[in-house]
Assembly symmetry: D2
Homo-oligomer: 226 residues x 4
Amino acid sequence: MKNQLFKYGLIGSSGKLGSEVNSVFNDNGGRQVYIYNRGGEFEVEKPELIIDCSAPEVLDKTVSLVDRFNVPLVIATTNLTDSQIGRLKTLSISVPVVQSYNFSVGVQVLLNLVRKADEILTNWDVEIEEVHHSQKKDRPSGTAKMIRSIFKEKNVNVSALRLGTVIGDHSVHFGGPGEILSIKHSAVSRRTFAQGILKAAHFVLQKKNGFYSFTDVIYSDTGFQI
Amino acid sequence: MKNQLFKYGLIGSSGKLGSEVNSVFNDNGGRQVYIYNRGGEFEVEKPELIIDCSAPEVLDKTVSLVDRFNVPLVIATTNLTDSQIGRLKTLSISVPVVQSYNFSVGVQVLLNLVRKADEILTNWDVEIEEVHHSQKKDRPSGTAKMIRSIFKEKNVNVSALRLGTVIGDHSVHFGGPGEILSIKHSAVSRRTFAQGILKAAHFVLQKKNGFYSFTDVIYSDTGFQI
Amino acid sequence: MKNQLFKYGLIGSSGKLGSEVNSVFNDNGGRQVYIYNRGGEFEVEKPELIIDCSAPEVLDKTVSLVDRFNVPLVIATTNLTDSQIGRLKTLSISVPVVQSYNFSVGVQVLLNLVRKADEILTNWDVEIEEVHHSQKKDRPSGTAKMIRSIFKEKNVNVSALRLGTVIGDHSVHFGGPGEILSIKHSAVSRRTFAQGILKAAHFVLQKKNGFYSFTDVIYSDTGFQI
Amino acid sequence: MKNQLFKYGLIGSSGKLGSEVNSVFNDNGGRQVYIYNRGGEFEVEKPELIIDCSAPEVLDKTVSLVDRFNVPLVIATTNLTDSQIGRLKTLSISVPVVQSYNFSVGVQVLLNLVRKADEILTNWDVEIEEVHHSQKKDRPSGTAKMIRSIFKEKNVNVSALRLGTVIGDHSVHFGGPGEILSIKHSAVSRRTFAQGILKAAHFVLQKKNGFYSFTDVIYSDTGFQI
């Protein structure tokens, strides 16, 4: 599968993540045949799957495109509402959908370790911290929300810092009597996310319908267990 | 001066900082002759100076005591209102007063370096972060407020984290295009603050009236310049 | 068990950790009936167990004492040689022995999470880092060695920093293409270790012979699984 | 000056930093007219200045080229020997030369703040730490050596960590009794260095002969004082 050519459509191709997806996909057998961005809509031919790296307000367009082409979707858009997530779940009855707020392997491992630590350090304080570039629109980040959802019963505070051109750092701190345990992920390059989206593309092209997380992608790739 | 015996009164003697002050002062020629804490008021004889490590609501008592004994004051209470600071300034017309939200040397250096960095990195983003134990009452910390006051024109965000028994960490992050510069101070031991208060006690005993910061104390001790 | 009185002997009672053990044990039903330190040997009566917080060169004395009293041993001495560990294992044929280079719960969790991360991030670079006070004699720390032993096949670098009065920080960094995952433990107070040693004391008093790690103690206490 | 066109020669054009220099210079009025890299030598016409982002073993070639073209040099090559630095100083008798191991503004500020902190915290412990990608050849980094040279009388330890694709982090930690002060710089993007080299190019094109540091460049640009 991995070295096979495939045709993809890209929504949000002019953004930071969209540009990286283009570059990584083109280097790995992908051919861009459909684009939707601020500049308009460009269709060369029917794509085999749609990648969405845009914004919540574009979701209507994304859903209508997936419906029209009847192809799989990988969606990396952050800051979706519960109702938009619901809409993607409905969409996944007819096509396979991979949805995640973070497509890096390291963040998957962080989520895994945080769950494990939380099981043991039940009475410790928890703080979540995220740092992103100053142009980031949502606050806290989608990844921080994914992390916070691990602590259902605790009302965990998220500190969001906005600094220069930082790609994305996430930390979880556990504080107990006389000690602190911290788990931190730093994205060094946005290319990492594009490579995760490529993994998700390969995964979704082999699936029938269904709603999948990036954890499912990594698990199928590596046997990695939550 | 330094090895001379002196008699001190301590307000807030049963708190975390108060206990350290007691221990450090007793090890360095201090004799406790007056106490005011939750348990009541204990007076053995007239103190040569008053140390206050209590809470803003105790300030009336502190001011009346300093008036009654007519002795210098070192006050480490955090979270004072502007009007309470004003009252201390009025008090300092008749006695010397040292007021600071942080009595560690390293925080003085941090303030110094942050001012310096701010002069150069004028267009960079700034974020302040502080971490303290989960029992801390004020939020953000007094020290974070001291740091924030450096950036008068910028509206600088302060993230406050509450974790276990952390004594006190303060960080200032500057974010520019493609780079981050951070200055961080961590208190490893509360004894550090008590030693700073001892320095302030030696300083204030040699002064006439006036309102002093801990920067003045350090400057007089080391020639250290802001 | 927990609130029952018990008599203990303490080797290395005048060191930093020894002093904390004394304080924590005395606050929790312990009565010190035997001491061995730089000042000499003081025996009030036969202890029910021996705690050793001293140095590798004292091990002969420790073993002869445990033999003589025929009681359990909890040993927190770091920097033991393989042959000294062997000697403790031999000793554990007749009495229960708990041996660890670190008695904090958080470091146990760190070891656990590092093992988990290593299973997944097989091809990532690994770096270990430890920071301790400038008086620390061994380098790298015993805890860093415990961490390094997780990566048997990789030749993992350990950076040891010596700074002021830092109690003990340990970090493990995993570096992959475009991302970094770090797990860090900071001891905020030496009391934490003394509380772990108290847990180990309660554990060892209930055991027959055998060689136990602090992981066994935590597991028996919390059901916490490696 | 800034928007004027200029012709440059680039030594080491195929490396990580060389590629960024190309991209930033081409976006800012630069025209590449000479290249020297692993693939060979390509000369279109005489450059107005030479940029060197290669390796110490290429220095002979660099010097002979600068001699031949008789144009200014900006050199970012790290790990030069004292004798190679001496050779560049000799070269600077006839042409202007800017030499630095780090062309980011933030590292200049870090150097500045570290000098300031060192003046005040004279008796504190110092540790330097640097993190770079696992392909980095020199160890410790040139920037770490620049930092270490601030502490002439202290024998300061440098910890070098090699992790994934990290661009470059440098930290200086000061440790005193009961407190730690840290100053840290992280490069988020290699583009930052290329932009600094562009600043140096503009600077050097306006100079006669002389040996300059990046500090001189920044000072002339911003009035920033060491």
